[in-house]
């Protein structure tokens, strides 16, 4: 076991993928000499050369569009979008091309592209640097969307995403980049499929369904609740598309209560889909409606007030109270 930050775990995962498969390429803005603004690709250009770790011109659509061409010719591009808020210029290429090439080809042409996107708030940043745009991609057929919450998952999931023959939008919870955790670099392979949810803390009174940066928040909330005698189960979804219905529904059937927690805007956020599925599949098992603790329906606000915008321990526990007292 090695202790690594999530950023370093991602770096290690990328390095392993580059070393294992010569067709793997990285591309993005400032990922070469600089190693990316979060240093996730640090040292990789020096190690694998400029043909495999490519500093791209400043144009996200160009980055994704050329990645499509590379993937069509057998390469496995892993592209970095510098910040969540800068993925939109590439939206057309992602939604109308990356996600559809396989369908357009009658199911014959794989499109093994990984789009790495540091996402989420809580880092005191200016506009466009704290967004949670995952729902746009989870609504798009043909894409898969995943997000790790721990260094170990980051290390394995990035490798699994690169190995996948379907396009994967890989959201990295940037405010957890410097969180440390144990990673077993010697392990042969991941212990969980890329698209499986994980019960990160078992519990019996209610289920917290969450992902990415909010997993830590929910775990902390569950610890606190424990002290008050409340047993909360925390499910780290890991995959937002597809959703791991089996794990989600099994947990909620058991606890009878569900609270979805995410940073993204509430309306049509992942919580909406999860609530819709749960109420449909667990109609008689639910003791309370599925509640959602999410960002408000606002553009991400200035950083001095972001703490009020972001779900925190108290808001999660408040929802638990409401659910339990239904």
């Amino acid at each position: 076991m090695t202790t690594l930050t999530m950023a370093k775990a991602l770096n290690a995962g990328l390095r392993k993928a580059l070393a294992a498969e010569p067709k793997v390429l990285l591309a993005g803005e400032d990922i070469g000499k600089l190693g990316g603004v979060f240093r996730v690709t640090e040292g990789l250009q020096a190690e694998f050369g400029r043909d495999r770790v490519i500093d791209s011109p400043l144009a996200e659509s160009g980055i994704l569009g050329t990645a499509v061409g590379l993937a069509l010719r057998g390469y496995r591009p892993v592209v970095e979008i510098q910040f969540d808020g800068f993925v939109y210029p590439a939206f057309d290429q992602i939604v109308s091309q990356v996600s559809r090439i396989r369908f357009r080809s009658g199911g014959t042409q794989p499109m093994p592209i990984v789009v790495r996107i540091p996402y989420g708030g809580g880092i005191g940043a200016i506009e466009h640097h704290s967004e949670s745009p995952e729902a746009y991609f989870a609504h798009t057929p043909g894409l898969k969307v995943v997000t790790p919450a721990s260094p170990s998952d980051a290390y394995w999931m990035i490798q699994q995403a690169i190995a996948a023959d379907d396009p994967v939008i890989f959201f990295e919870p940037k405010r957890r980049y410097h969180d440390k955790g144990e990673v077993d670099l010697d392990q042969q392979s991941a212990d969980l499929s890329l698209f499986s949810a994980r019960v990160v803390k078992p519990g019996t009174h209610a289920t917290l369904l969450t992902y990415g940066p909010m997993v830590r928040t929910c775990l902390e909330a569950a610890m606190l609740a424990e002290q008050e005698g409340r047993s909360l189960e925390v499910v780290d979804l890991r995959s937002l598309s597809p959703l791991d219905d089996a794990v989600i529904l099994e947990s909620v059937r058991r606890t009878g209560r569900a609270i979805v927690v995410h940073e993204a805007v509430g309306t049509l956020g992942l919580g909406a889909e999860i609530a819709a599925r749960i109420q449909q599949n667990c109609f008689y098992e639910l003791d309370a409606p599925v509640l959602r603790v999410t960002g408000y329906d606002l553009p991400y606000p200035p950083s001095k007030v972001e703490d009020a915008y972001l779900p925190d321990l108290d808001r999660v526990l408040d929802a638990v109270d409401r659910s339990l007292s239904w």
């Binding site: 144009a59 659509s61 160009g62 993937a71 010719r73 390469y75 090439i101 357009r104 009658g106 597809p242």
Partner: protein, 368 residues
């Protein structure tokens, strides 16, 4: 914008009257027999096109995008392609597809609505049709970057080298993606030839709305050569494309070719050009028909004769007949088949949706 004149800024090797003309930088190196083959391709491509248009009129296709008038641009450029070159079409490149060896019946699937654009006869070096304007230019640059990494660019063995040619229209030049493609291609010296068929219109919008100056000049601002060729002159188009592809294969980077031509028909079968252009304009371009000029040249030099043309007419009729029959015989896939075509690794949800859909359909078995 005034009409381009033959000269250094407008490569023409065969004038509208069918006379061979000289150009300081380009010349034709092939034989008249090769040109007869080009004429055959152009006539067959046009026949495919008019037959597909007719099929649409009869309600057999939902839509068709005719190439009428652009045969020389397409055949001339496609015949400058050879292995391991790659071809990235837009949606009107039926003549290019023909040269790439695609069964014209396959082209109809998209337009008949029986499938997407993965045609059974599609060779590996021919990309799908693209319908979102300009997006494919970036794919082409990516493919050219792949060629660089595959080591098939700039080798001492010229025959082993390859490049990518990508097709798009005059309207497409306004899209951000096309300009980003220019930037990426220039930045990485990617072996890509940007082949712009300036057919004077983007649906109803005249070329001048997209650019006040000739389109080929766009390239210089990005740091690579642009050149304008008479797009109705198959000889010039082939010569210019050969030059550009050869240059790209050698590793000298991209070229923009503006093939100055005219869409003689409608934008698509849904379009009504009388709404936005004068019939006198159409007439003036009819006088520059790419097929007529080559035909009159080849007849004059005796490379072909009426018998040759008659034989071609029969071949053409047979092709049209085959196209018609092939169209009607196109299988309609089951809806269920699509659920497995979205992902390599199909998620549970889709399998469940497919099963529900099947069960639901089955519930009507008795009733229907």
């Amino acid at each position: 914008m005034t009409e381009p004149m033959p000269g250094p800024d407008f490569v023409q090797l065969l004038d509208p009257q069918g006379n061979r003309v000289e150009h300081p930088d380009f010349s034709y190196s092939g034989t008249d027999a090769d040109l007869a083959a080009d004429l055959r391709d152009m006539i067959l491509a046009r026949r495919i096109d008019t037959e597909a248009t007719a099929l649409q009129r009869k309600g057999e296709l939902g839509l068709w995008a005719p190439l009428l008038g652009q045969e020389a641009s397409q055949i001339g450029s496609a015949r400058a392609v050879r292995d391991p070159d790659l071809i990235v079409p837009s949606y009107r490149e039926h003549g290019v597809a023909w040269c790439a060896g695609i069964d014209p019946v396959d082209l109809l699937t998209t337009f008949r609505g029986t499938g997407m654009t993965d045609w059974p006869s599609r060779p590996e070096n021919f990309h799908f049709y693209s319908f979102v304007i300009g997006t494919q230019t970036l794919h082409a640059v990516g493919m050219a970057m792949a060629q660089q990494r595959d080591g098939v660019v700039g080798n001492s063995e010229p025959e082993a080298n390859g490049a990518t040619i990508v097709y798009f229209g005059d309207g497409a030049t306004s899209q951000g993606d096309v300009n980003e493609a220019f930037i990426f291609a220039a930045s990485f010296a990617a072996p890509v030839v940007f082949f712009c068929q300036n057919n004077q219109y983007a649906i109803s919008e005249p070329m001048v709305l997209q650019s006040k100056i000739p389109l080929y000049r766009r390239a210089a601002g990005f740091g690579f050569p642009g050149i304008r060729v008479d797009g109705n002159d198959v000889i010039a188009v082939r010569a210019v494309t050969q030059w550009a592809m050869e240059r790209a294969r050698r590793g000298e980077g991209p070229v923009l070719i503006e093939a100055y031509t005219y869409r003689m028909g409608a934008h698509t079968t849904s379009d009504d050009p009388t709404k936005y252009r004068a019939s006198t304009e159409e007439d003036s371009w009819r006088a520059k028909d790419p097929i007529e000029r080559l035909k009159s040249y080849l007849l004059r030099v005796g490379a072909i004769d009426t018998a040759w043309l008659d034989a071609l007419a029969s071949e053409s009729d047979a092709l049209a007949e085959r196209l018609r029959a092939g169209c009607l015989a196109l299988p309609v896939p089951t809806f269920e088949s699509f659920f497995g075509q979205v992902y390599v690794d199909t998620p549970e949800l889709l399998l469940r949706q497919r099963d529900e859909q099947l069960a639901y359909e089955a519930s009507f078995e008795g009733a229907r």
